[in-house]
Subunit: 221 residues, 2 copies
DNA sequence: CAAGTGTACTTGTTAGACAATCGTAGGGTT
DNA sequence: AACCCTACGATTGTCTAACAAGTACACTTG
């Protein structure tokens, strides 16, 4: 029962489908993915499956050592802190610069409106617009390479967010509210206020998730 | 006559050798690299050559569209500006934070000493220690993902630097001096001074190279 | 001379195969 | 009985050979 996986390149399609399944929690942390197994399940040749795996390894969604089977990435507390620190480093400087010219990205505003519209749905429903919100901020810088660098973090960020939202560590309404504060500080031309609000927003999620991961080793269906 | 290309993985070895040849100017901008040609010259199978090419495309050292032959990346003025802007964005915030705690990375100091030691050599001799200097600054943040993001820029940065140094657009002694100023401002605990010095350092190289690329379309043996 | 066609070149993907390597289970030794 | 060493199975790394599909350029034709 292969999903409609036939976009442009077969490899892209398989990599995309695996990504989707990992984000959806279909493939749990530590799940081994052998090349032969994948090739059989998608009915493609092994080199094709291999290429798809390598793509996800490059995205840090899978990890594997030489000659070892690829496994879905396991996030520890220190990885989470590293990821969120990198985000905060990059994004806080982004909003600082946006605030300097009081430039509020329209796409970010739209994304937050979408989050507010989904408050009554499951917590996981706001993951997509949440990612859109932060991506929109970075993209508003208008610098291709900076956006590309940020995008290389997004795979792991998404892993974290899936975790945060499925454990319901954060209230969706609070997230929307913090986003609104960030946009408001940008509009007010308050660089430090905007950067501070963003740092707080990320620190909040970071510590909750890190504490959760340190507390229990994390097995929960 | 295949070079001694047999490190850990054959693919790594070929990708590494191609990288070296691109940096060395052996492979000029726009040079087409067909899979079959590469496979023959390194005496490996085509899929192996393909994988090496894909790795360099991921590094942005080669570019290719679907079903088209990979070519060595051609840098235009706008790409150069984009690259240097991204660098300045990231690095200026790095030195700002380092200056806040007056933390001078030992590795950066060593790298600049190495540059000074090579002032009498060819201009291209300082490329490696120059890259080491900037990498050391970012690494001093102690954040793995930030270092990884910066590293994803390094391939193109190196392309730019090779260009700057081979055209002798900048005086090596001046580079060393600007580096020294940055370190001195960090040591003095002067965040804005350090960030400003770094911005100036990068802006200098950026505008010279961009102007050069805008001036003549860039054919020179 | 312009437009459509065709052909050669290149990449995308497949199939099957073999060597190298890793993990583990089993047997031998103390 | 405990420990080390070996052998086996599973998995990955790479190769050869081949076909399908797409692109670019030249050629023919109107």
């Amino acid at each position: 029962m292969s999903q409609r996986v036939s976009a442009l390149s077969i490899i892209d399609a398989i990599a995309g489908d695996l990504r989707r399944r990992i984000y959806a929690g279909d493939l749990v942390q530590g799940t081994p993915l052998t090349e032969a197994e994948l090739a059989a399940s998608y009915d493609v040749a092994r080199p094709t499956a291999k290429a798809a795996i390598e793509r996800l390894v490059a995205d840090s969604l899978l990890e594997r050592g030489a000659h070892k089977t690829a496994r879905v990435k396991t996030l520890g507390a220190e990885s989470v802190r590293d990821i969120y620190f990198a985000r905060a480093f990059l994004e806080s400087e982004v909003v600082r610069r946006l605030a300097r010219t009081a430039t509020v990205p329209e796409a970010a505003r739209r994304a937050n409106t979408e989050i507010e519209a989904r408050l009554s749905q499951a917590a996981t429903a706001i993951i997509d617009p949440d990612m859109d919100f932060h991506t929109a901020l970075v993209d508003a810088m208008g610098n291709q390479r900076t956006s590309a660098m940020y995008r290389s973090l997004l795979g792991e960020v998404r892993l974290c967010m899936t975790r945060v939202q499925s454990l319901e560590l954060l209230d969706s309404a609070q997230i929307a509210s913090e986003h609104a504060t960030i946009l408001e500080r940008i509009a007010a031309g308050d660089p430090e206020g905007a950067a501070g609000a963003l740092d707080g927003h990320l620190a909040h999620a970071r510590e909750l998730l890190a504490a959760e991961l340190e507390g229990n080793a994390g097995h929960r269906s």
